[in-house]
């Protein structure tokens, strides 16, 4: 690990001010950042610990939604009574990820900003445009069984691997952000970027901006469910996942960001069957050979999840 200095932030304003310095980075749970720092894939020179800031509260909003503080642990969110009662898809998605030890440590903010688990991104002896811009993409012609089927570019075919974010995408969440210029809100679907020519730039956050909360609108009418397919029954990154909340559908591990299935939603709203609806979405998918299987996998997984949520909602 490269050397760095460390401070524990005591206020949001103080954290944001400190983060304007070059080389500064926030650390919350540390479960992704430290993993990458050990491999010197991440090399911050100053860490600002935001884990103890008073932003772990989960409170109902006046409009019937829910505001989840960014430093709430993944376990706290999944266990929260309101989340379990009104946003079960979020609780289910969180407990489908990592292990209990990781979820106890991981924060909401850190979970959203976790980086890809593409094997070439992790292997510093291999080219990777995300880790070393301009070096090429090792996955393109390599082991790309878990590559994206939506929105990939020739520069990067990696997927976003958060389970939680898929549920938040289906629920229409937004993200509250504090930066040098003040506070603003970004729809979750606009937090992450597609890779394009610059896969190393992963979000629309400006440098030094702190996520302070995730805000959920009131839950949509209808059932909710989360389904994830992976190589082991537990403690494994996903090959594909789907979150359904009423008529809202999001797909996970299929793109560089959580993927809201707008085509499928439109088809469902005009009376298509779940299988027809997801077929419309997948008309826009493309694969590279090794990840061809993801297309029929998502077709079946999403059709089953949409059907399940429909039955629950009745």
């Amino acid at each position: 690990m490269k050397a760095f200095t460390y401070e524990r932030a005591t206020s949001v304003e103080g954290a944001v001010t400190a983060a304007q310095a070059p080389g500064a980075r926030f650390i919350a749970g540390g479960t992704n950042l430290l993993d990458l720092m050990k491999l010197e894939i991440e090399t911050p020179t100053h860490l600002i610990d935001v884990g103890r800031l008073p932003m772990a509260e989960i409170v109902e909003t006046p409009d019937g939604g829910l505001r989840i503080g960014a430093s709430a642990s993944n376990t706290a969110v999944a266990s929260n009574a309101t989340v379990r009662a009104r946003y079960p898809v979020l609780s289910e998605a969180i407990v489908a990820g990592g292990s209990p030890q990781l979820r106890n440590k991981a924060s909401v903010g850190g979970n959203l900003l976790q980086r890809t688990r593409c094997a070439y991104f992790y292997d510093t002896s291999k080219p990777c445009n995300k880790r070393a811009p301009g070096s090429g993409c090792g996955a393109l012609e390599g082991l790309n069984r878990n590559a994206a089927i939506f929105g990939a570019s020739h520069a990067c075919i990696a997927t976003h691997t958060s389970d939680m974010a898929v549920a938040l995408a289906a629920l229409g969440a937004s993200v509250e952000v504090v930066g040098a210029g003040g506070t603003h809100s970004i729809p979750l679907l606009e937090l992450h970027r597609l890779p394009g020519e610059t896969p190393h730039i992963e979000t629309h956050l400006a440098g030094g901006e702190l996520i302070t909360a995730v805000v959920l609108p009131p839950p949509p009418k209808g059932g909710q469910t989360y389904r994830k397919v992976r190589d082991r029954a537990s403690y494994a990154g996903g090959l594909a996942s789907v979150a359904v909340a009423g008529g809202q559908v999001a797909l996970g591990m299929v793109a560089h960001k959580p993927w809201r299935a707008a085509e499928a939603e439109g088809a469902l709203a005009s009376g298509a069957s779940p299988a027809e609806a997801i077929g419309k979405e997948l008309a826009g998918a493309s694969s590279l050979g090794r990840n061809d299987f993801k297309i029929p996998l998502v077709a079946r997984l999403a059709a089953a999840a949409i059907t399940e949520a429909k039955e629950q909602g009745q």
């Binding site: 690990m1 050397a3 760095f4 200095t5 460390y6 524990r8 650390i27 749970g29 540390g30 479960t31 430290l34 993993d35 050990k38 860490l47 610990d49 884990g51 376990t75 999944a78 266990s79 379990r84 009662a85 079960p88 609780s91 289910e92 407990v95 489908a96 990592g98 292990s99 209990p100 030890q101 990781l102 106890n104 440590k105 537990s234 403690y235």
Partner: protein
């Protein structure tokens, strides 16, 4: 960097390079070698300790992030003279072979029992239901602790015995 952590009930004041993980502070600085380094990347659970009563992977946390915290490693769970009921259960059920993963398994068990008590759901918990200590729940909740010797069935039996003993 000056860091004060209460380790197994004793206040320890340490002067650490900020890079030191909690696991390395325990093992290298405090010479408490019970918590093990398996992968150093959050993948195996051998380094599991309790921080303020909650189980975490001590390899993926910096010691300086725990200034003011209370840490329990296996050395604080029981003594050779007076074993903790979870340790007794692991012995009775033969829940290990080489023993490398065992300190992490035992700390993880303590965390698991507290999480069940607090009603934290897992992917085995029915929506909205309060979790109970079924075999499926135990297996799922212990999935963050890998055992290379594959003592898994005995570990499940030990956790059930420990839960009964502690009830």
């Amino acid at each position: 960097m000056r860091t004060t952590i209460t380790v197994n009930g004793e206040v320890r004041s340490l002067d650490l390079d900020p890079r030191t993980t909690l696991l390395d502070a325990l093992r290298e600085t405090l010479k408490l070698t019970g918590a093990k380094k398996g992968c150093d990347h959050g993948q195996c659970g051998a380094c599991t300790v309790l921080v303020n009563g909650v189980r975490i992977n001590s390899c993926l946390s910096l010691a300086v992030m725990h200034d003011g915290d209370e840490v329990t490693s296996i050395e604080g769970v029981g003594t050779v003279e007076k074993l903790h009921p979870v340790q007794v259960a692991f012995l009775n059920q033969d829940a290990f072979q080489c023993g490398y993963c065992t300190p992490g398994q035992i700390c993880s068990t303590l965390g698991l029992l507290a999480e069940i008590e607090a009603g934290a759901p897992s992917q085995e918990t029915a929506p909205g239901a309060k979790p109970t200590l079924t075999d499926a729940e135990i297996r799922e909740r212990m999935s963050g602790n890998i055992c290379r010797c594959s003592a898994y069935p005995q570990i499940v039996a030990a956790i059930k015995q420990a839960a009964e003993a502690l009830a």
